[in-house]
Amino acid sequence: MSNEELANLATRLGGSLATRQKSVEITVSPDKVLQACMTVSSIPGLYHLTTITGLDLGEEIGLLYHFWQGRGFVVVRTAVPKANPKLQSISGPLPSATLYEAEIQDLLGVSFEGNPYLGKKLLLPDNYPAEAPPPLRKEADPDKIRKMMELE
């Protein structure tokens, strides 16, 4: 997909475009993520979703959907508020996203509505303390978590 087409997509979705060393990034609001991902992945050669990265940005949790298109990465970027970390899952139309979203559910406490692992654990032990914040959040303290799980 050319940069021009991507720029048009960004404008259509009310977002912005940024070109970096190895990637082009479209930033959109959480409710536009599904649409952005479907458009980006429908371009020939862009069916490969490498992964989804979650980032604790303080008040928000950033989400980066990395698509590899054979010549560069196209990243769909968004952020959800920590106070209400919810958005729609893309695993229905793009099933390769299932485990990547599930990982972020476990480690950052984001809810991807429609993901089959919502409410279940993929990575974390079942006895992960309910009072402890998800482990990749800044407020999580690994030592405290260890003590709560009796890991000595």
Binding site: H48, T50, T51, S96, K121
Partner: protein, 387 residues
Amino acid sequence: MPFGPVHPSLKEPEYFKLILEGERIVQVIPRIGYVHRGIERAAQERTWVKNIYLFERICGICSFAHSLGYTHAVEALTPFEVPKRARYIRVIVAELERIHSHLLWLGLLGHWAGFDTLFMWIWKDREHILDLEEAITGNRVHKSYSTFGGVRMDLPDGIAAKLKSEMKYIEKRVDYYESLVSTEETMTVRTRGVGRISQETARRLSPVGPLLRCTGIARDIRAEDPYAAYDEVVPRVQTSNDGDIASLLTIRLNEIRESCWMVSEAVERLPTGPYKVNIPRAVPRGESMFHVEAPRGELFYFVKSGGGSAPERVKIRTSTIANLLVATEMLKGHTLADVPVVLTGMDPCFGCMDRISILDVDKSREWTVGGEELRKYGIEYYKRSSE
């Protein structure tokens, strides 16, 4: 669909839950986490250099691929260029690792299929590769060899001739193994037509590495997005069209051959010059992404630097998690006897076979089984069906 009362088995972590109807597997639910340690979080509390030692220990089999992914991702945040000689040396060690990993896999496949002699012979030959790795890096498994700006030390004197002769040896052995696996009934009956996946499934589920290439899709990060010296020592991407375990065998055997050629080629054309460039400890602010072709497929690193002495965030996507859903698809329609070979086909970390939970819908029975029990069951099953 309704099924009767289920008697829960021991509450233990299972890597896979298999749901059976009659003899056939109809659904597979993975639950990973038995090796979850908390590495991405720990990385935020370690310096940039210390993290090299942490990340390479994510996996003992593709340890160098991890250190390559990480060091490249961090180098991308700096204005420094890795010297040519270092890039060639990185290719040599990365391809040696690919050979050792594929040989390891092939031996294990033999073991799971009941061909233990093959396992012993292959692992004996694999020692040649480990000797080379030890001569170059000082270690057999966790080599800590890639560092920011290049490699930790230069190649030892006289290694060039040794590398070339060992590559010739391995190529001969690969020819021999290929003749074995394509004629020995123990292997052929358990791999041909087994675990078939289609290109359509591959497009839907985004697998990586040999699992992707066995459907005929010729994608390899070394060719598509060259790093280190892969722009000059270019691999020929190996594919196959049948999408079954036999295809995976063909691809991995050919990849070993290709890697042998690449090592010899890299040695032949090895540039002179420094083996590393010094990079200051402070890593500039920014975000970077890097992917490498590990033996099992695309390995992805995302690194965020806030300018401090430790990374703000490192996100790692291993090849196994990318292939997990495809592996579950591969199992559908098969019987328990095929589980060991099909699961091994995706080249998982082999602890994963430790515990598999089975839910038999018809008999309303749920139980767990260990990898070894399944292996024996599979061998017996195929023996009986050949009688």
